[in-house]
């Protein structure tokens, strides 16, 4: 869109030229000469406007076809503006044309024309009378002129002039010679010579009277020419010429009438051309007005639509999600207010979006935080929705239940129980707790699964009343098996210590008393009675020995001596122990598969020897009577996920661990043997735990029980393992892989 300024100047200059044209129409001389240049200027201006409007129109059509924003509104506005101008201007033009036609025609009236004709006729008549009078005067005096003497003629001419009141009187010849003259003005020595045709007429007719009114002369003159000789063919024929001023009222009036007559006649002749030029000028004005209005309509329509278009585009941009769009300020009117409101709105939307993003970020952070907290929790956490479907689970839950719970998100607990029958108890105990009550609850669940008996401490609470959480629950459960085990171990330890203390003391007096009885009365008694006494005291002493052994074992179990750790080769210790059994080759044989080059480990050699004795004894006792027991001892060096350890395996060729006590072999007084205190393996376990190791048992497929022990290689690692396994040597009956997996998972979590 071109600037408004140049166009305004063009319009103003066209208007000025139109004004000049109309002024020129009124016969104003200064503009008259430029009329055609003005006309041309106007036509050029109109052409320029047409080109401008055409350009605008083409652009608008293109925008309309492309459905550009604001094009429809622009079209409507332009159409409205143009109509607003064209209709009234058209009406005005039509009536103006009518007015010009009729108005100019009404100037002319037949009666006025006749009046003017009569007036001029009247003037002519008056002038003719005057002319006749002057002629008569001259004719009366002409014969008195003495033509014989030129000098006398001059004098007579002067008299004659005075008498007739002529302004000038002269005696001339037809050849143009001046014979004599007399003038009112004494300085005037040349007469006003008549034209040739006047002389000829005067000579032909004898006289000729002529009124002369020439431009530049103040007043008209009446020239009377009279021939003095009959023979007009002579070139030197004489004639008298008298010039009378047409002074006075007649001259003034006749002059005025003539002017008016001329003016009227002139108008009469010009009235059609006048109409033509008026109509032309008017038409130019019309075209110019309509074209200017059309152009201005385009200009203002665009100017009006521009902010609306801007708003529309802005709205579209905002709708597409760009809230940073700001529109430039626009004026102080309502549209400007609208633009301001738009900017404020987008600002607020942007702020709101930023706030949402911020709070989303916060929520995300909270969630990540919560997830990591839950993930690192040793307790299993499961959340359920109102329909008992799993919402979230943490890693510990998966580890505790030994089921990959992440696959059950969105599924119900019942489905979980269907898939894993060993969890059925867990689900059945928990589900009633979820019903109805919104209070916190606690429950203990005992599971029997592939990894043995597990005791879980469960607690739950309703989730807060948020829209999607409403009716949901959170369940937290802990595997307290080891804790209970530890408590039990501690209790057994205490019992053993007390028993040892309480029973050991009376045993020695009992034994001594029995021996004294035997010593004193055996020889003095009858042989039959002596036999009874001997048998009874023998039994007492023997049983006391047994009880002493028992008490010793109890004491051993209860004892928690301070470890004296030294770096030793485990294999050497094993060899030493095995050597002690060389004397019993008939009962026991050893198969040693000891890995060479094992690193030294920090151990209390005495305790480890006891451990080995217990294990070997256990193996021998496990074997059947009369059968030679083969004890296989293996050591190997292993590394699991960066943790170095030495593994010790002791297995026998016995019947293996009976089903009914499997899983409890490390508890006191659990034994499948007829003999034995039932404290051998518990003591082994205790020693392993003191060293920060792990122990578990299994039945080998090829027969015989196998006890597996892992000992950490160095002290720091031992501490690490002790710290990591707060329960101190986790006991796993048959699955080191599972235990390892659990450890690895913990490490990952």
């Amino acid at each position: 869109m071109g600037g408004f300024g140049p166009i305004l100047i063009l319009l103003l200059s066209l208007l000025a030229s139109l004004y000049s044209m109309s002024t020129a129409m009124e016969n104003s001389q200064p503009f008259g000469e430029f009329y055609f240049y003005l006309l041309a200027l106007n036509i050029v201006g109109i052409l320029v406007l047409i080109v401008l409007i055409g350009g605008n129109l083409i652009r608008l059509i293109r925008q309309y076809r492309n459905q550009a924003t604001g094009a429809r509104l622009t079209v409507k506005l332009v159409f409205m503006f143009v109509m607003l101008v064209v209709v009234p201007v058209g009406v005005l033009y039509y009536f103006s044309l009518q007015f010009i036609q009729r108005g100019i025609d009404s100037w002319f009236d037949v009666r006025i024309g006749q009046a003017f004709d009569s007036a001029i006729e009247l003037s002519r008549t008056a002038v003719t009378d005057k002319k006749r009078a002057y002629l008569h005067q001259i004719l009366m005096v002409k014969d008195r002129l003495p033509l014989s003497s030129i000098s006398q003629v001059s004098v007579d001419l002067a008299k004659l002039r005075e008498k007739t009141q002529a302004s000038e009187i002269a005696l001339l010849t037809s050849g143009g010679r001046i014979l004599a003259m007399s003038s009112v003005d004494p300085n005037d020595i040349t007469p006003q010579l008549p034209d040739e045709w006047m002389t000829r007429l005067a000579l032909e007719r004898g006289s000729y009277v002529h009124l002369e009114k020439r431009k530049g002369q103040e007043e008209g003159i009446i020239r009377v020419t009279v021939a003095l000789s009959e023979d007009w063919l002579l070139t030197n024929a004489m004639f008298l010429q008298a010039v009378f001023p047409m002074s006075g009222r007649l001259d003034e009036l006749s002059g005025r009438i003539e002017d008016a007559y001329t003016h009227y006649k002139r108008l009469n002749v010009l009235h059609e051309p006048l109409k033509f030029s008026f109509v032309l000028t008017l038409s130019l004005v019309l075209i110019l007005s309509v074209l200017s209005a059309t152009w201005v309509a385009f200009y203002f329509a665009r100017k009006l639509v521009a902010p609306i278009r801007m708003l529309a585009i802005g709205t579209r941009v905002v709708a597409s999600g760009d809230y940073d769009k700001r529109l430039p300020r626009y004026g102080n009117d309502e549209i400007g207010y609208l633009v301001d409101s738009f900017n404020e709105m987008t600002q607020r939307i942007a702020d709101a979006r930023d706030e949402v993003a911020q709070s989303h970020l916060l929520a995300e952070r909270e969630r990540a935080y919560l997830r990591s907290v839950l993930g690192s929790l040793a307790s299993g956490v499961v959340t359920l929705d109102a329909e008992r479907r799993v919402l979230t689970v943490n890693t510990a839950a998966t580890q505790i239940l030994s089921v990959d719970l992440s696959g059950y998100v969105g599924r119900t607990l019942t489905e979980l129980a269907d898939d894993w029958p060993d969890l059925d108890v867990f689900v059945k105990i928990i589900e009633p707790c979820l019903e109805g009550s919104r209070d916190d609850w606690h429950n203990e669940v005992v599971l029997f699964g592939s990894s043995g008996r597990r005791v879980l401490m469960c607690s739950g609470a309703a989730l807060p009343e948020f829209s999607d959480l409403s009716g949901g629950h959170v369940i937290v459960f802990e595997d307290v098996t080891d804790l209970i085990q530890a408590q039990r171990d501690a209790a057994w330890g205490e019992v053993a210590r007390r028993l040892a203390h309480e029973i050991k003391n009376p045993l020695t007096p009992i034994q001594l008393s029995a021996e004294r009885l035997r010593k004193r009365y055996l020889r003095s008694m009858a042989p039959e009675e002596a036999q009874v006494l001997d048998r009874a005291t023998h039994t007492i002493v023997q049983q006391v020995e047994v009880m002493k052994e028992l008490v010793k074992a109890f004491a051993e179990y209860a004892r928690t001596p301070r470890l004296i750790l030294t770096r030793q080769d485990l294999n050497t210790v094993i060899h030493e122990v095995c050597d002690l059994y060389l004397g019993e080759k008939a009962r026991v044989g050893f198969s040693l598969k000891l890995a060479s080059g094992l690193p030294h480990v920090e151990i209390d050699a005495g305790r480890i020897r006891q451990l080995m004795h217990n294990l070997i004894k256990n193996a021998i006792e496990a074997g059947g009577d009369g059968e030679r027991c083969i004890v296989t001892i293996e050591t190997l060096y292993g590394n699991d996920k960066g943790v170095d350890f030495i593994e010790l395996l002791v297995h026998d060729n016995g019947p293996g661990i009976p089903e009914e006590i499997f899983g409890k072999v490390f508890e006191p007084y659990v034994t499948g043997k007829r003999k034995g205190s039932g404290l051998g393996l518990p003591i082994v376990k205790k020693i392993v735990e003191e060293h920060g190791g792990m122990i578990w048992s299994k039945n080998r497929t090829e027969g015989g029980a196998c006890i597996m022990i892992r000992l950490p290689i160095d002290h720091t690692l031992r501490d690490h393992m002790l710290g990591e396994h707060a329960f101190g040597g986790h006991v796993l009956e048959d699955s080191p892989e599972k235990a390892l997996a659990a450890r690895v998972n913990k490490g990952e979590a």
Binding site: A24, M25, N27, G32, Y35, F36, I50, L57, L60, I61, Y64, V75, V78, F79, V82, V86, L97, I120, S123, R124, V127, D195, W197, H210, L211, E212, K213, R214, K215, S254, G255, I257, E258, Y261, T262, H263, K265, R266, N268, V269, L270, E272, P273, L274, F276, S277, V279, L280, S283, L284, L286, I287, V290, T294
Partner: protein, 197 residues
């Protein structure tokens, strides 16, 4: 839609205006194409005292509307253009001398006389009728046009003259109309004669 109706509306508006401005408009700007209204009867230069003088006679045929305008007090201006030039074969002719005599003819309703004024010299003459006036107007006697010294004896020269009525001196409305109507055209063709050195 506006772009469909606006153009025809505009075009019809222009047509309307054109029709209104000259309803019986003849094919416009007809000028010297018609039969000459001025007939140059004779023209020639005579050499007298080393000066070329023009003698010429032409006859004016005023059109009725011109006579009507004259009688209504509108002066008619005539111009006699005389040109001496050297014709060239491949270029336009080289002008040597250019002379224009202008006359104004007016009518006096009171005296019923015609006044002819030579605008170059200012001389005015009365005539009792139009024939006498146009007779005097149509006679050019010994009008000095060129000094012989200005001519090159080796070159060939020609003179030509043309008579026409000056529309520029008509009153504006009439002038405007004279551009649209050939009725108001009064002009002769060029009349050429050789100039002998």
């Amino acid at each position: 839609m506006i772009h469909k109706t606006n153009i025809p509306a505009f075009v019809s508006g222009v047509l309307f205006v054109l029709m209104a401005s000259g309803s019986a408009l003849q094919p416009v700007f007809a000028q010297e194409g018609d039969r000459p209204n001025v007939e140059i009867l004779s023209a020639g230069a005579v050499l007298k005292h080393q000066v070329y003088y023009l003698n010429a006679r032409f006859r004016l045929r005023l059109k009725p509307q011109m006579v009507e305008a004259l009688h209504a007090g509108i002066p008619l201006t005539f111009s006699v253009s005389v040109e001496v030039y050297r014709p060239r074969n491949y270029l336009w002719d080289a002008g040597v001398a250019l002379l224009e005599q202008r006359y104004r003819l007016t009518y006096q309703p009171l005296t019923e006389h015609y006044v002819l004024k030579n605008l170059n010299s200012g001389v005015e003459n009365d005539f009792p009728n139009l024939v006498a006036a146009s007779d005097v107007l149509g006679t050019v006697v010994e009008l000095p046009i060129l000094d012989r010294n200005l001519l090159n004896p080796d070159d060939e020269y020609r003179g030509r003259m043309r008579v026409r009525m000056d529309r520029e001196d008509l009153p504006l409305p009439l002038r405007l109309q004279s551009y649209f109507y050939s009725d108001w055209t009064l002009a002769s063709d060029w009349y050429t004669w050789p100039i002998h050195f």
